[in-house]
Amino acid sequence: MALLEVENLQTHFRTPDGINRAVDGVNFHVNAGETVAIVGESGCGKSVTAMSILRLIPEPPGKIAGAIRFNGKNLLEASDKEMRAIRGNEISMIFQEPMTSLNPVLTVGRQIGETLRLHQGLSAQEAEDRAVEMLNLVGIPEAKRRVREYPHQLSGGMRQRVMIAIALACNPKLLIADEPTTALDVTIQAQILELMKDLKHRVGAAIVLITHDLGVVAEVAERVIVMYAGRKVEEAAVGPLFRNPRHPYTQGLLGSMPKLGSSLTGEETRLAEIPGLVPSLKKKIPGCVFASRCPKVTDLCTQYAPALEEKAPGHVAACHYALREEVVAA
């Protein structure tokens, strides 16, 4: 049994001018200790997916449907109390903006210690001692002094290290990292990625990495899920996906990617520009969601939404055209 199973996840938001179908029928799983990346442009629903797993979507205006099974337990049916016991303890999360994700009026030590006091019942003193250890672990010098400081006294990279310390304080089984390096300088990005890989080995947590940066994906992920317009369009192990992308969208994303092994952090590894805009999610799209931007679009695509199909072992994609190519190739 997988650690996390997401089934038919739908997360919709009520807005004044219609219902925004931000995530519309996504399936995936994460095994224990595995690193899975979810990639896509901004607005593709990858962050909403991440937030839905921990049920951090405000309801209303949002609503989550489907099933999210963690260790076999459907989180969508869990009570608020059960969810609180899971958040920060068994599943924890790192956010994109280290500058704004830490509470400005509470000390760093208190914010790390809070999780420990909540989930492990530590006393204030024990929690602070553990916070110092955690700061040491994530490589913050002078941890004893730093625990008593406020976030504004730390640099962006340091704050993201603090976020990681908070997330890992309780040894979670699953870590969701939502664009953990996007807001950071390139050199700091590499350090944070190293730190995450290192800690993953030590703690043994599975990671769901949300990113639009394919360089980051190539560096840390084992399996990749490509999302577009609220749907999963392709999924494969990192090697096959980069070598042989099946979906035209993934091909577009990888268009300007240099070969694996070359510089991974340079500007050129960012997403290539794909002409056109992500369609509005406030209207139902009859055919393939990518049809409006796809270079290989046919009448078939605008009429019938392609189902996800296994194009090669362990490699699924949602494209009529990819299927044809496969048949011809075979």
Binding site: G18, I19, D24, G25, K63, L300, Y304, A305, A307, H320
Partner: protein, 305 residues
Amino acid sequence: MDGGRPATIPPGINVAPEMGDIMPPVKAKKGFIGFLRRNPTIAIGGTLVLLMVCVAIFAPFLAHRDPTSLAPALRTREPSAQFWFGTDMLGRDVYSRVLHGARVSLTVGFSVAFFASLIGLTIGLISGFIRLADSIIMRFMDGMMSIPPILLAIALMALTRGSVGNVVLAITIAEIPRVSRLVRGVVLSLREQPYVDAAVASGTRTPMIILRHILPNTLAPLTVQATYICASAMITEAILSFIGAGTPPIIPSWGNIMAEGRALWQVKPYIVFFPAVFLSITVLAVNLLGDGLRDALDPRMAKRL
């Protein structure tokens, strides 16, 4: 795979199952009715204000008797078919007096809102455009704002003969600093805008900049502020009259009617009750209108307040 699909699907095509709706659809409300639906406070507040304005205008026709005519024989009658709101200690018909009271309240409210906005706008514009004047004016406004408005109005009223005009003057002076600050704030933030910068750089003259860029953007917050000033001026007028520092007792204002009913309030509460209800409803209506306008005109401000 998808057995339930119509047979028109070409063979070999694998169609994704359609995802259902998980929440009811949104009905967009458009047009004037939609606007009122989305801004119920404007609809309710506006209707009530209009109603009160009508009451004030047609008070002489709606009133049963002359609001100032004394009838000692009919003193302190309970509300009845003849005297809807009863009579006061001098036998005057409270219903007729309350209707006429609407005239005083609305006159004071609207006049103060108008004059305070006009003067505050002028001071705010000067302050926002002339650096030298700014520090002096704003220091002075800070000082004025440190005097609680009601006390300031009381002090001014103590020095003048009671009249509706002087009440308007006293409350207006107390309200000016707030408007000036608001307008100055808007001007200063607009001056930072690139398009205003560009206008200045391209040599557009200041009056033109004010007319084209500043005034239109000041209008929305100023209108909202003016409604709030109108509401608070009506309350201040009532308070001033109530403690004997407002409209002369001869004029039937709501504050005066209540002041006269004060001595008897434990035995004849209706004398205080009816003007109180009219005053509260009118102020409530104006406040609702203000809240609605704020939400409709300036969503940013709506978030802050």
